[in-house]
């Protein structure tokens, strides 16, 4: 990632130095030691000063654990459901029946790929309307059979394409929001990477919102925000700060409930403990929500949404 470049350059230098023969150049030993100290200092500084824009970059890291990694690790007996029964199957959205330690659930998630080939097939995790309509089909199954829903968010946004518009992208997202709003089963949402606007929100709210430390959730991408504000996407770092899109910001606004920590450099350097911790938090949330009767559950979900917003109210 861009902000790590000085660090990687220094690591490179050190590597080269270490490969040199100490017997021929005895002064190298001291130099290596010096560089190692510098590197340690720089590593500390780089990750200590990590800001919103750096987190956005981490959230987009190609090797960051994806929806399919969480599903493969945390769930068993996965039965994937394909298609919206109207138009086609959108691989940018995963819908499945799955089991988590004996608990049967419906899993939803945006699905990015790890290779170019996968990403092309999955449209880089940006769904078309049929993706949301598949998700809705799975939600209705969850309702009919009393299965909780676990949703993983990781999309730059719903796809802004010609066909997506022709098939009613906005209509599909709106209906998905409508369905989720009073789905009478527990809904646990985990922000694992990118939370891009309406395309994330369509499967992105419920009774609990768990955010990874470097996941973001935003009304607009920092790049597009920068384009609107300054007519240049290159000022995205600044825009990322303005938008208050980090996990910690979401806690402040009463939108997210908890944060799962990541290694200093991001979840991709050591995914297993992160995935395990997410699993632990999902289990805890499902345990707590499983106790609540459906009517109370949907009433509380409404009150939770109802309370979000900051405005002034004078006489009038």
């Amino acid at each position: 990632m861009e902000f790590e470049r000085p660090l990687f350059e220094l690591e490179d230098k050190l590597d080269q130095l270490k490969r040199m023969d100490v017997a021929v150049n005895p002064e190298i030993a001291a130099e290596v030691e010096d560089l190692e100290q510098q590197l340690e200092q720089l590593r500390k500084e780089t990750y200590e000063q990590i800001g919103p824009w750096e987190r956005v970059q981490i959230s987009r890291h190609p090797e960051r654990p994806k929806t399919q990694d969480y599903v493969a690790t945390l769930f068993t007996d996965v039965v994937e459901l394909h298609g919206d029964r109207l138009f086609g199957d959108d691989e940018a959205i995963l819908a499945a029946l799955a089991t988590m330690l004996g608990r049967r659930v419906v899993v939803l998630g945006h699905r990015k790929g790890k290779t170019t080939k996968e990403n092309v097939a999955r449209n880089f995790g940006s769904p078309h309307p049929e993706g949301y309509r598949k998700a809705m089909r799975a939600m209705r199954l969850a309702e009919r059979f009393g299965l909780p829903v676990v949703a993983f968010l990781d999309t730059a946004g719903a796809y802004p394409g010609i066909e997506a518009e022709q098939r009613g992208q906005a209509w599909a997202i709106a209906e998905s929001l409508s369905l989720l709003a009073d789905l009478p089963v527990p809904v646990v949402v985990v922000g694992i990477g990118e939370g891009g606007s309406g395309g994330a929100l369509a499967i992105g709210f419920g009774d609990r919102l768990i955010m990874l430390e470097n996941a973001y959730y935003s009304v607009i991408s920092p790049e597009m925000c920068a384009m609107i504000l300054h007519k240049e996407a290159s000022r995205a770092a600044e825009a990322a700060g303005c938008l208050r899109l980090t996990a910690a910001d979401l806690i402040d606004f009463g939108i997210a409930d908890e944060i799962v920590g990541e290694p200093l450099e991001g979840a991709h350097v050591d995914p297993e403990p992160v995935i395990a911790a997410v699993g632990e938090r999902i289990r805890a949330a499902l345990d707590a929500l499983g106790e609540v009767d459906p009517q109370t559950l949907t009433q509380k979900r409404y009150e939770r949404l109802r309370a979000i917003g900051v405005f002034e109210e004078g006489a009038g």
């Binding site: 802004p160 009613g168 009073d182 929100l201 709210f205 935003s218 979000i308 900051v310 405005f311 109210e313």
Partner: protein, 292 residues
């Protein structure tokens, strides 16, 4: 009554347009507007009298919120609520222009406190809640205040058993309130869902332009969706679609007529016939006196 008075009264009756022209706006004499579509020059007074539809080509101009309400509801029936709700600046959003500045200049320009006006009214005698969005106010974007007013509109309609008629325009979720704006999509959709369970009708009129988070939430959750001729309606704006796909956009992409062709709206209704059409739908979907 003198003969001339009698004639005048008759003339007035004869020339009253079938659909009602709405009240005359206070426009200073001698103001002229160029039509965006046919480029002809129109006298402001004429434009106001024609419900801001170009008399030459039928182009639909934007309508200020209160003028729109006058066009839509039974005369004098509006009782506004939530008029004191206005935006604050929860993110302390400062960029090229601060959010506080944008809002205060919008207030000055539009004479409104927010991008939406909400109230109780009757249409064709049916008790309804109306909400009218005004694009001149920060692009009629939805932040916390707009989300709250729309949510209350649904809630009041439930408790008073009223129909809902919204005239919508919007650039989408209001960027300057970040995630609080995005969550208004879920909040208004949830309120619309509760309303939907009540057996009361929700009619949405989509006007130019309606895009982004408003299209993707309460706007398209209506029972009946009408769009004004030529209105641009979609999720992603056309420029973004062009950039993302690097394709030439189809003719009339995202226009009301395009939506009609693709099965996304019930009909395209010209402004002159809107009140009558809305009233007729309410006749079908509401029992007399509002009891359901």
């Amino acid at each position: 009554m003198s003969i001339t008075d009698w004639f005048r009264a008759r003339e007035d009756k004869r020339y009253t347009p079938v659909n009602g022209a709405g009240p005359k706006a206070d426009v200073p004499e001698g103001v002229w507007t160029t039509c965006d579509s046919c480029k002809r020059i129109i006298y402001e007074g004429e434009l106001a009298a024609s419900m801001r539809v170009c008399p030459y080509c039928g182009h639909h101009f934007p309508v200020p919120a209160h003028e729109r309400i006058a066009q839509l509801v039974d005369e004098g029936s509006l009782e506004e609520f939530g008029a004191g709700i206005t935006s604050s600046d929860p993110l302390e959003f400062v960029a090229a222009k601060s959010y506080v500045q944008s809002v205060s200049s919008a207030k000055e320009k539009s004479g409104l406190e927010e991008a939406v006006v909400t109230g109780r009214a009757t249409i064709g005698g049916h008790p309804v809640i109306v909400a009218v969005m005004d694009f001149s106010f920060v692009g009629a974007s939805m932040g916390s205040a707009v989300g709250e007013k729309i949510t209350r509109a649904f809630e009041i309609a439930v408790s008073e058993r009223r129909g809902i008629v919204f005239a919508i325009a919007s650039g989408g979720a209001r960027m300057q309130e970040g995630m609080l704006s995005l969550m208004q999509m879920a909040k208004t959709a949830a309120a619309a869902k509760r309303y939907r369970a009540e057996g009361l009708p929700y009619i949405a009129v989509l006007t130019n332009p309606t895009t982004g988070g408003v299209t993707a939430s309460f706007a398209t959750l209506a029972d009946i969706i009408f769009a004004e001729p030529g209105a641009l309606v979609g999720f992603a704006g056309p420029r973004l679609v062009e950039q993302a796909t690097r394709q030439k956009l189809p003719k009339d992409f995202q226009s009301a007529e395009f939506l009609l062709d693709h099965g996304l709206v019930d009909d395209v209704v010209a402004r002159g016939g809107l009140r009558e059409r809305v009233s007729l739908v309410l006749d079908y979907l509401m029992r007399p006196g509002g009891a359901a």
